[in-house]
Amino acid sequence: MSQLPTFTSMKAEDGLRKALGMPRPDLIAEISASGLKGRGGAGFPTGVKWNFAAAAKADRKYVVCNADEGEPGTFKDRVILQDHADLVFEGMTIAGKAIGAKEGILFLRGEYTYLKTHLEEALARRREAKLLGKEILGQDFNFDIRIFMGSGAYICGEETALIECLEGFRGEPRNRPPFPVNTGFLDRPTVVNNVETLAWAACILQKGSDWFKSVGTEKSTGIKIFSVSGDCAKPGVYEFPLGITVKDLLQQVGGAGAQAVQMGGASGLCVPASEFGRQIAFEDIPTGGSVIVFGPQRDMLDVLHNFLEFFVDESCGQCTPCRLGNRKLLEGVEMLKAGACSMAYLQELCALGESMQLASKCGLGQSSPNAFLSVMKHFRAEFMGRTHGFVNA
């Protein structure tokens, strides 16, 4: 039984049928009106993205569904693909119609290979039902979807690195601009959207933008799917309207009493108990949906150590700030743990973290210091208590 009631209540096909009956500008206008923002983490308005790709002139265009789901603590896309694959494929088809693409590619995380047969079957069923392939639903619109298996690097979830992978190259982010909506897969305009974003797009077409906007905040409309894990009684996948406070969310998942929550995965923010009144929404605490709860027994330095090890492992190594900066932050945490980090050096590391946020080439390096900086901001007093003397690096 699906843990996602809204998706379960949807009737596949209805959205697509409606979309095919609409002129392309109206279709994009409907998505724009809903206020849907990217569910992959960056929160870019989906209507705007589709509009760019629709406006770009090219012989071919592509729709890519990003199912690389590599952020530590997220597993919602897996559940969506397992239980609501049709909605996702329908969203891709609608996006294809909106921008004028004939081909969709599902970039599936290597670890999700076990889902592949299930997804291929869903695709075959859709082709049989004339929901994919030539002359979809009897209309003058062709669109098909293929599955591309990723091979396990976190960075390949970044959209331009993902495109490099699709082209057969080493998975490394490209320079932006140009953006994928202009120069993407095979240098053609390409829309890359998260699994959840595409599923919501299908729902919006079915139920209308007003229905979608009826929950959430003004700037963050609709429902968001969360992956909740860590020190709570009921970990799992949840639907909550955007704008929910951390406190309310914790209540529902049995996580009351937490000392901190990591919002948005390893690259997200560490929110201390004192700030649990804040809202989860793009204008306050943005998130791709990962919520990791830390009970009072956790040592936040261990948590940080863990995250930084992840980044030191997963940086593509292309640009200097990220390749070497994460290593320095990790060494800093090790020094803190050993009580061998001076106040002055910690200051240098925080400044370095800010430079990494500013000067790294892609979102990984730009956000990898987030956890370090927020933990240092909120828990510094506690760590410095552990400092034994002033040893400089």
Partner: protein
């Protein structure tokens, strides 16, 4: 999976990064394809798609760079060139940011300065090396960055132990990854510029490093020794094998007769190592400097370049005779063989075309063989006491002189190949102020060289030299009657591939020197010689693929190939840095030197006439020539055991 991966295996960086991929919007009505941006408060109008870095450079605003290189596609990896663009949350890489809207840029705000300083500090925290024990001391972009950014301590530490072993397995290129800053210029050079693809980035994060295929030593992979990667490395991580100690030891040994031949390209560039701007040849100053440094004789490689023309030109005529007169199969087009980088490229990637390579040795190797035979005999010196040194613009020449077959004199024909950089180092070490040396001539018996030899250094030069000789030998007319000042301009220039047709409308009598090989030239009358010139192995590859397809290039009679972009003047042993402007300046110096020669055609060189008369006897491509001046090649293939 039906992914069209690697459609073009050479295109290893996305096209979007080659051209910056920005297609200007169809109707940039208001601005007519131009955009005005402001940098540090000053405005400038530039074509759409110009990068911030290019715009800043035009305005005289300096933005530091490390991974950017004017010859290579954009990488945007070092982030040293970060600048602030108004309205953008993060800093932007100036080298990789194409301007398509009227943006406002600031190049030295506090955020920018701090970030840049942090980047330099991080690079140094991963850089094992001491400047005073480094070949790139005072010519290193990392060192300059550290100075420019006022680095006065190692904020994030500094390695005290090497992390990588030095790879000295190649005869030509030494790799010291301890000094590598992962700018990837070498990778882009090898893959995109040269399309050889020997080296790649391997591993992720701070474990990533530059490695040859399958982690093998460089000496055991398809590296063609062109050294183009060395010329573009910003640090001391790549350098050429250094034989200066061995050469000094020979000079210091009174029992040894040490002779050096100097090629035109290093003479046109060595001044750059002494603070002169590019484009000033120091040929005759160098003669004096070399004698003062202790070399016993100084010869001009032009002499053997003329000899190469005689041999290679005759070989071409022989192939034409075979095909047109005897109606026997002959391998066409004939390929030049004087660029050892190109030769090894062919042996690896197109071994089935080895029969097309001219069997004539390169000028360097011909000279070595002649010195240890003809010269030794003439001057009564035991060849075992002669040490031959070659000053070359090239790192591949080091490999070439070590090829086992290069011993037709009975000894190693050329003992040491020195690059321009190595020789500059020796001259510095000897305390000689090269630019201020008085001029002096080359030594006999090879004192007269011709302009044709000089232009070997520039792309198209071998072709032009060969044509000057072939035209005159065949038509009996002066080249000057066909081309003004004997400058065959259609083959000059820097376009990647050039194609020329030369109709032979009349023929003359066969000159004496070739009379033993050709009864008459009638078989050439009415023929049109089809010729092509390609420089850089990426262009060579284009030509070879066209030949394989049976395209127009396969109809050619003679093709000049040079392994390096621009030919020898852009060789892997030349002074660092390099850029299109620098190579053009060097080429100008070479052509100027050519025009200054009294004798400009190889066959008119009296020393050449003499060596055929006194020593080689049977004329070009005769028995002795074949023994000493020709060679054979090795099928290598792409996969090496």
């Amino acid at each position: 999976m039906s992914t069209p991966a690697l459609q073009d295996p050479a295109r290893r960086t996305p096209a979007s990064q080659h051209s910056l991929g920005i297609k200007p919007p169809p109707a940039p009505e208001a601005i007519g394809g131009q955009v005005t941006l402001s940098i540090d408060g000053q405005e400038i109008k530039v074509p759409l798609g110009t990068t911030i870095l290019e715009a800043a450079t035009k305005m005289g605003i300096h933005i530091p760079t490390l991974c950017h290189h004017p010859d290579l596609c954009v990488a945007g990896v070092c982030r040293v060139c970060s600048v602030e663009v108004e309205g953008m949350r993060t800093l932007q890489a100036a080298c990789a940011f194409p301007v398509t809207a009227p943006i406002k840029v600031k190049t030295h705000t506090q955020k920018v300065r701090t970030a840049r300083r942090h980047i330099v500090d991080l690079l140094l925290s991963d850089h094992y090396g001491e400047c005073y024990a480094c070949r790139r001391n005072n010519n290193c972009e990392l060192q300059s960055l550290a100075r420019e950014h006022g680095v006065d301590f190692f904020r994030f530490g500094h390695p005290v132990k090497p992390a990588h072993e030095i790879d000295g397995s190649s005869y030509s290129v030494v790799r010291d990854l301890n000094k590598c800053v992962l700018c990837r210029r070498c990778v882009r050079t090898c893959i995109d510029l040269q399309e050889v693809g020997t080296i790649e980035v391997v591993g992720r994060s701070d474990r990533s490093h530059i490695k040859p295929f399958l982690d093998k030593p460089l000496g055991e992979v398809v590296c063609i020794n062109c050294g183009q990667c060395i010329n573009r490395c910003p640090t001391g991580a790549l350098h050429a094998q250094d034989y200066t100690d061995e050469v000094w030891a020979a000079i210091d040994n009174p029992a040894k007769h040490v002779v050096i031949q100097t090629a035109p390209s290093p003479r046109a560039a060595i001044g750059e190592c002494f603070g002169l701007p590019a484009g000033q040849a120091l040929t005759f100053e160098l003669n004096t400097a070399l004698r003062r440094a202790g070399f016993d004789r100084v010869f001009d490689t032009n002499f053997s370049a003329d000899l190469t023309i005689m041999e290679e030109g005759t070989e071409l005529l022989l192939r034409l005779k075979k095909a047109l007169l005897l109606r026997e199969p002959a391998a066409f087009p004939q390929f030049t063989s004087c660029s050892p980088g190109w030769v090894k490229f062919l042996e690896h990637f197109y071994p089935e075309y080895i029969p097309n390579l001219s069997t004539a040795k390169s000028p360097q190797q011909m000279f070595g063989a002649v010195i240890k035979t003809y010269y030794a005999e003439k001057h009564g010196i035991d060849p075992k006491d002669i040490v031959t040194v070659a000053l070359m613009p090239c790192s591949a020449k080091k490999f070439e002189c070590n090829r086992p077959e290069m011993d037709s004199s009975g000894f190693k024909d050329v003992d040491y190949g020195l690059t321009t950089r190595e020789l500059a180092k020796m001259i510095h070490e000897a305390g000689i102020d090269l630019p201020r040396m008085p001029k002096s001539d080359f030594d006999a018996p090879f004192g007269t060289a011709t302009g044709s030899g000089v232009i070997f250094g520039a792309t198209g030069g071998v072709m032009e030299a060969a044509l000057r000789t072939v035209i005159e030998l065949v038509t009996g007319k002066k080249v000057e009657d066909l081309f003004e000042h004997a400058d065959i301009k259609p083959v000059r220039g820097f376009e990647g591939v050039r194609y020329v047709e030369l109709p032979i409308t009349e023929v003359g009598p066969v000159p004496e020197i070739l009379a033993h090989l050709f009864p008459h030239w009638a078989f050439l009358k009415g023929q049109t010689l089809k010729l092509a010139v390609a420089h850089g192995t990426a262009n060579a590859k284009k030509v070879m693929e066209d030949i394989k397809r049976g395209g127009p290039m396969s109809k050619c009679h003679f093709i000049e190939f040079m392994g390096c972009p621009g030919g020898c003047i852009g060789g892997g042993g030349q002074p660092i840095p390099t850029s299109p402007e620098i190579r053009e300046a060097r080429a100008r110096a070479i052509y100027a030197e050519d025009s200054a020669y009294a004798v400009r055609k190889s066959h008119e060189n009296p020393d050449i006439g003499r060596i055929y008369q006194e020593f080689l006897k049977e004329g070009p491509c005769g028995h002795r020539s074949h023994e000493l001046l020709h060679t054979h090649y090795t099928v290598r293939g792409k996969y090496i055991e």
